[in-house]
């Protein structure tokens, strides 16, 4: 049983376990991605507490309860003070997506939406690196089409390297995938056999 099984409520030998076995590499490699992002052998570019804070924040924004609880627990076991600040940040960041602006002929399709800016007491609690990461995570989670070259500058200014920016982007983007697989499998698992 891997983490997607656990979060989707899939037990060994059930219909959904057998269904997932039709895509064995996707199943195994989704787990390998999770392991590489959350339990890396080298966390030099992004510390463990940074990884768990971003994961807890983005899983909560995506609002898939089993995933939200899983990542909240990882973070609170690693750093309860940061966990408390992230819980507050989540309440400020929650929203419906995807929204964002388009250019060119698509400008009429642009949809305005909120931009998260953490208040100073949370920015102080999280520190410059995590504050920049949480701001960037909100963008990637809810309005990724608002991305722009200049949106990366606050990360660079806060000390994020190129390696760190890639790992941060992969973590948020992988979780966008993982929670949706969990949401989909949960719906399938709740049904009877077909």
């Amino acid at each position: 049983m891997d983490v997607i099984d656990t979060l989707s409520g899939i037990a060994a030998g059930t219909r959904l376990d057998e269904l997932r076995a039709h895509r064995p590499a996707a199943r195994e490699q989704a787990q390998a991605t999770y392991d590489a992002l959350l339990f890396p052998f080298d966390d030099g570019a992004m510390s463990l507490v940074e990884r768990y804070a971003v994961a807890a924040f983005v899983a909560a924004l995506f609002d898939v309860p089993a995933a939200e609880q899983h990542y909240a627990r990882l973070l609170s076991e690693e750093d309860p003070t940061i966990a408390a600040a992230v819980t507050e940040a989540v309440e400020l960041g929650r929203g419906a997506g995807p929204y964002g602006s388009f250019g060119g002929e698509l400008v009429a399709e642009s949809q305005a939406g909120p931009e998260l800016i953490l208040p100073s007491h949370l920015a102080d609690a999280l520190g410059a690196r995590l504050t920049a990461a949480i701001h960037h995570t909100h963008l990637l989670a809810l309005h990724p089409r608002d991305s722009a070259r200049e949106r990366l500058q606050p990360l660079v200014d806060a000390g994020w390297t190129a390696d760190g920016i890639v790992t941060l982007s992969q973590l948020v983007s992988f979780l966008a995938f993982q929670v949706r697989v969990v949401a989909g499998l949960t719906v399938l698992a709740a049904e009877g056999s077909h």
Binding site: A32, A96, P98, G104, V156, V179, E191
Partner: protein
């Protein structure tokens, strides 16, 4: 080496298209000369070292390798389940919904290639995810992926029922979930680490 690339000349595509586009990174990719065995292991397929997007993701080679192998099984393992065209349609719908013009160009062209239904695919690009894609099956895939791409996720039993009514079995429905979910990963990387340009 600097973290961000120096701004390059780009011509942003004015609309969604099935034409081939270029993609320019904002974060500095690794230099091909600096790639080690560990990076090649992450790239999986050696020719990918020529591509700046993959050389950028190679900065975290373990994650890139696992991601690439996930991708290949979701889209290319066609022993059973959903047809290749419908998996590419799922990728294109997620990309249209999130607003990733680059991913949409690649996967709408693949959807057309495998289905020979270029006009239905073009309607998705021109009119958006509300367009009629020509039949019940494609519209059911579209509705499922749009619901899965939304935050909070809106995918529910009604989407599964509509897919079943169109003749899809459990493995095909798993493929709809996987392909739609996977592009929620891919879109965020391509949107946030660089930008498309007319080639």
């Amino acid at each position: 080496m600097s973290t961000l690339t120096t701004a390059a000349e780009v011509t942003p595509p004015p609309r969604f298209t099935q034409e081939a586009l270029g993609w320019v990174p904002w974060v500095e990719p690794l230099d091909e000369l600096d790639l080690t065995d560990r990076h090649y292991e992450g790239l999986v397929q050696r020719p990918r070292a020529k591509n700046p997007y993959f050389r950028l993701l190679a900065r975290d080679p373990e994650v890139l390798g696992a991601r690439t192998r996930t991708d290949l099984d979701i889209f290319c393992n066609t022993a059973d389940g959903l047809g290749r065209a419908e998996r590419e349609l799922g990728a294109a719908v997620a990309s249209r919904s999130n607003g990733c013009v680059y991913c949409a160009s690649v996967h709408s062209a693949f959807a057309t290639h495998f289905s020979k239904r270029g006009e239905d695919v073009q309607r998705l690009l021109d009119d958006g995810v509300g367009a009629d894609l020509g039949d019940e099956a494609w519209n059911a895939v579209r509705d499922a992926v749009v619901a899965l791409t939304a935050t909070p996720v809106r995918f529910g039993a009604e989407h599964v029922a509509a897919l079943r009514a169109s003749g899809f079995d459990d493995t095909a429905i798993l493929d709809v979930i996987n392909s739609g979910a996977f592009f929620n990963w891919a879109n965020r990387l391509m949107l946030s680490l660089g930008e498309p340009t007319l080639s």
